[in-house]
Amino acid sequence: MYVAVKGGEKAIKNAHDWLAQIRRGNTKISEIKISQLSEQLTLSVDRIISEGSLFDRELAALALKQSRGDLIEAIFLIRAFRTTLPRLATSKPINTTKMICKRRISATFKDIPGGQNLGPTFDYTHRLLDGLKGPKNLVIDTETDRAEDLDMPKILDLLNKEGLIEDQIDTLEEPIDITRSSIQYPTTRAARLQALSRADEGFLLGLAYSTQRGYGGTHAFIGELRIGLVAVNVEIPELEITITVAEIEVTECETINQFTGSKKELAKFTRGYGLVMGQCERKAISMALVDRALRWKELGESYQNVPTQNEEFVISHCDNIQSTGFVEHIKLPHYVDFQSELELVRKIRSQQMKD
């Protein structure tokens, strides 16, 4: 049991003032601007957006600065802020097929309609510290780099047409919102995807890696990975129209996984799905792997007693704000708590010594 304590106002104020000083650092060095963070530390900002589960680049950059670059602290600030916003509406589902892609690749098919487009990627760089070479002009050859035929169908739809991969049926079921009602187990795939999309990247990455190393094993290929802009459409009842209220950047990963079939069904491929706000490729891939592993029951696979088959384990521990809240709270005063433990141990010892 936790018993509240009082006092320490002056010490707390001084601690926070010192924190503000340290956050500013050496005043001979110019102060960093929010716009510099949102423009130049884009992937940190994107991670705050994704795990804070609120798409607002300016706010995420402000949180990054206020938290001295501690991403979980920044995500905490965003989560706290989002609770102050009245919810105006729920959007129509975003259409990722109509994404204005910046990157779009498939690891399963070499020749795809719309082509393999690398986008601004770290892939194929040498990972050498090179002193931050400045931006270079892109060499765009308008003859061969035709932008007009960038119609990009979903790769998995192509497999779907042949019946080689499971279809994804719209059951028209109203999904639960885990920010409004607590998750009951067993839960739905919709609830899991919402939880995974705002989950801690590191936690998902570790779990995804575990499935590849043999704790479970769903053998995933990246059918398609795309990053780009999608429109957010909202119905405005008083105007009787649906308008685009925003455009957001998202990362989507669709995996293709083996499925040997059963007595009822022919062998076909199955799907894992990752969708993350911002440019968070590592997380989108991890999410798709974990999503697929969690579907073992639905697909009639055997239970292998591995973490990624246990939805309660994964979903209850994937949120870094919940995790850090509970793990870190034990540093706060527990004097009364501990006092009772201390008395108990003393009592047992004295009893044992008498015996």
């Binding site: 780099d145 932008a147 995807l193 308008i243 925003a246 799905y273």
Partner: protein
């Protein structure tokens, strides 16, 4: 007639919502309107829960939220609605003023000097993304392995 108006309004509201605040406010001030409006609903920040679909095509799930700013005002007997992305009261106000003007005899003025210019800038940005992406298009070649070499030799 009504549906034609709604179609146009849908388009201009969608362009205003995603516009760059700096560009919108400078284009608006260039028109030098002396606006006398009254607030029906002052600007307020809000969130919208964005939905996704499982596998991109299946059932819906709640994906995450975005910030928006909303307001309603009355200008020359026209109700102007401002729905914009992000948290700018002023941007929402200007969007609502544009929406009201677009329902009045200022339609052509605002359409040509604001909406079309915003749309043009947006299209330029999209074209730039598309061109840049196309410039990173690759052709991967699968190299011969000993196995494929043997297969070719057998033929």
């Amino acid at each position: 007639m009504k549906s034609e108006f709604l179609k146009k309004r849908k388009k201009w509201l969608s362009i205003l919502s995603q516009s760059d605040y700096g560009q919108l406010s400078s284009l608006y001030s260039d028109l030098k309107f002396a606006d006398k409006y009254e607030w029906i609903k002052k600007p307020e920040h809000a969130s919208v829960m964005v939905r996704g679909r499982i596998g991109g095509i299946g059932s819906q799930f709640n994906f995450g939220e975005i910030t928006i700013t909303k307001c309603v005002l009355l200008l020359n007997e026209c109700m102007g609605y401002g729905y914009v992305q992000g948290r700018s009261f002023d941007k929402a106000k200007i969007a609502a003023l544009c929406d009201a003007h677009l329902q009045s005899f200022h339609y052509n003025l605002v359409m040509e000097n604001i909406i079309q210019k915003l749309e043009k800038k947006k299209n330029v940005e999209i074209d730039l993304i598309k061109n840049q992406m196309a410039s990173t298009r690759v052709d991967f070649f699968a190299l011969d392995t000993q196995r494929t070499k043997n297969q070719k030799a057998d033929k």
